[in-house]
């Protein structure tokens, strides 16, 4: 005997299912409310950061969606699958919403990168806004007219990358490293696949080809991080010039360049240097600056500029932190940050392990 949809038994079963789902939702809501309540104020995203992060992710996903979707539709049209081409090109289902729903965008490395870029953008803006009236800057103006052609070219490359990056919010994409970009392309392709009513081998092939094209066209070297790092390497500043360059980079509102000078001087990777510059309590940054032999005065000025530009920092706690760091000997400081110079994969493994044991 089979149950028709209207039997009391099936009605009860559906009701029970709905009730169970509602209970799960309530449980999730409570969990996130508790998490929210106990969250440290300094760890909380402010509204501007939240908005910028949202815009960066959405614009980035939409750009890939447009690109892969258009290419796939074109390929399908030429391969005689007009129906599928239309479904891909005109589907209303939002790829962005689908990726959020699926939880895929929660990927730690991806969000780490996007959040860092959003924070850098906001800090850059604040650094410029905090500049005393009448203070003019000339770091990049000087570098692009530099006597050394290598510095000149690197400065122009950096300015170009920076110009591209300054697109208005609705066009601004995150500058993703290759592996994250490629991963996102595949996610988008998978979400586009769901627009097709029935999946065919030809449609799958077209999506794969479109995604591969996008990946092949990716230019990882075009971003500001890479350009800034190259510029810092071409300048190759000595200990005397480094403090001036670091402070000028901050005055010009170029935290990425600040991180690049740091990365080059310490011999660490760009993302590590940027992480140092973004850390709200700045503990590791002071140690790193001490390892480079910087005096208390430089630490204080860097600390003040970043403290004023970044709302997540506590500027009242800054003097004590600087006092504590200033007495650390450069050799001692060097030993503390030495692990940063190790191979990235090893560092990440050590970090992952320690986080696992803490939980």
């Amino acid at each position: 005997m089979s149950l028709s949809p209207s039997t009391p038994e099936s009605f009860d079963a559906a009701l029970a299912l709905r009730a169970a789902a509602a209970e799960r939702r309530a449980g999730r809501r409570l969990a996130s409310a508790i998490e929210d309540f106990f969250r440290d104020e300094h760890d909380r995203l402010d509204d501007r950061a939240r908005a910028l992060i949202g815009a960066l992710v959405e614009v980035t996903v939409s750009a890939i969606e447009r690109d892969v979707g258009d290419t796939a539709a074109r390929l399908l049209a030429t391969r005689g699958e007009a129906q599928a081409a239309k479904a891909i090109a005109t589907g209303n289902a939002s790829v962005f919403a689908r990726l959020i729903d699926s939880g895929l965008l929660r990927e730690r490395a991806l969000m780490d990168e996007v959040i860092a870029q959003a924070r850098v953008a906001l800090i850059d803006e604040a650094l410029v806004a905090n500049r005393p009236p009448g203070v003019t800057t000339g770091l990049l103006v000087r570098l692009r007219e530099h006597d050394d052609a290598m510095v000149r070219d690197a400065a122009i490359d950096y300015l170009l990358a920076d110009s591209r990056h300054r697109a208005p919010a609705e066009e601004r994409r995150a500058e993703l490293p290759a592996e994250l970009h490629h991963q996102l392309v595949w996610w988008v392709a998978a979400a586009l696949r769901e627009r097709l009513a029935g999946v065919s081998p030809i449609a799958d092939r077209a999506l794969v080809d479109a995604a591969m094209q996008r990946i092949a066209h990716f230019d990882g070297a075009a971003g500001t991080m890479v350009a800034a790092h190259r510029l810092a390497a071409s300048i190759d500043a000595d200990v005397e010039r480094l403090p001036g360059l670091l402070l000028e980079a901050l005055t010009e509102g170029r935290l990425t360049l600040f991180a690049a000078f740091l990365a080059h001087a310490l011999g660490i990777e760009m993302d590590e240097a940027r992480a140092l510059a973004l850390e709200p309590d700045g503990e590791r940054l002071w140690i790193a600056l001490r390892a480079l032999g910087m005096e208390r005065d430089v630490l204080a000025r860097v600390g003040w500029a970043l403290g004023e530009a970044d709302r997540t920092r506590d500027v009242e706690a800054l003097p004590d932190a600087i006092d504590a760091a200033a007495v650390v000997a450069p050799e001692q400081a060097g030993a503390v940050i030495a692990p940063l110079m190790l191979t990235r994969d090893f560092r990440q493994a050590v970090r992952a392990l320690s986080m696992g044991s803490a939980a």
Binding site: T78, N130, P132, P133, L140, V141, R144, S163, A167, A300
Partner: protein, 445 residues
Amino acid sequence: MNEHLILHARLDREDRLIDADEGFGAINERAGGSRGHVLAVPQFNTLVRLARRLRILISRGVTIADGEIDLDCWIKATPGDGGTSLAVSVLRERPAWRTPTSANTVAALPPPPGADWQWEVDAELRVTRIDEQAGVRHGFDAVAALSRPLTRLFALEPDADGNVAILDAVAERIDFDRQVATIRESSVRVTLAASVRRDPLGGFDGFVGGTYLVDEQPVEPVVETFNARLDQVLRGPLGRIVANADTINAGQDGDLDPHYADYAADIASAGRHLLGLVDDLVDLEAIEREDFTVEDEAIDLADVVRRAAGLLQVRAANAGVTIDREGLDGVLPARGEFRRTLQILVNLIGNAVRYSPEGATIWLRAQREGDRAVVIVADQGKGIAEADQARIFEKFERVDASEAGGSGLGLYIARRLARAMGGDLTVDSAVGQGARFLLGLPAGE
């Protein structure tokens, strides 16, 4: 930078006020403070304390309430051995009830709408963002503009009253539009518009701007170099577009959705239309030149008409139109240039085919009338009102303005050519009765 009112104070090592100038003292006292105590304005006190503890010069922008007004200030604290000195420069004051001009940021500030391309400058009017492709399109080096003053990219021009809009906008921290300028490198004239970006205290922090190309009729509509460059600039790319579209339409690259094949056919036909326009413009440039001449040869006008009709035979058949060539058997000697005469007749017969309804007939006659050899091209189209008969020989006018296709140059060029050969081109028509075009050339021996 503008001169601002600057107030001074000195504080001891416990941040207590030692002395201050009159202005500073007044603000501090109105807030409830006095000499020998810590400053009563909390923002001042905080900065003094931080400077003393950090042991470096620090400064920040703050807004302080002073009675009925709010003061936007930039305060600077300099620690020293004996204590800290404080300088307050008052940037502007405003009534307390007026909210401060909020800082706007890249995230919040859209560029001016509809611009051909965008740019951004910082507070010193140095270019921080520019559309690289715009440089390629409009003939300047976008990369060279980066980090350099905007005025190096654009030559700014004052308006009729002598005002330079962008300078007024900087001074008053407001948006501007209609700043006339010229791109220095390419001499392209443009107008600029921009939204002002403000810092947290409402100060000027740069512009987010747009460039609008000025549509200007050049004084000389067709210059000589135009002709020389046409081949490479227009003909080449158009030829490729037409060829590729034809290939797609023919389905040589594999199966194709019929819609796409149709689009390709449309693209090819639009491309051909543009190629035709290019040809017309080259002719126009040639015949309008002062030194334009035609060959004076002995030609058989009847033979030229037969050739022209032959060239259009296929098109006429496709349109369901008959070309009646009776009476073209003989010889009609005339003087003129063979190639140009053929061009005129192809144009006339082509027009007749285009404007004829299906099933209609086009009559061609060649005859001698006194000292002139005359060709008549008569159609059964809707005809041309008398009032329009002069107009259709003007530049960029068409027999039927509602009809797509054609550059509006054909008849203008045809008449100019006919006259250059010592003849003329006229029309004789009435609405509803078709049109008769008469090409007359000097009769030959």
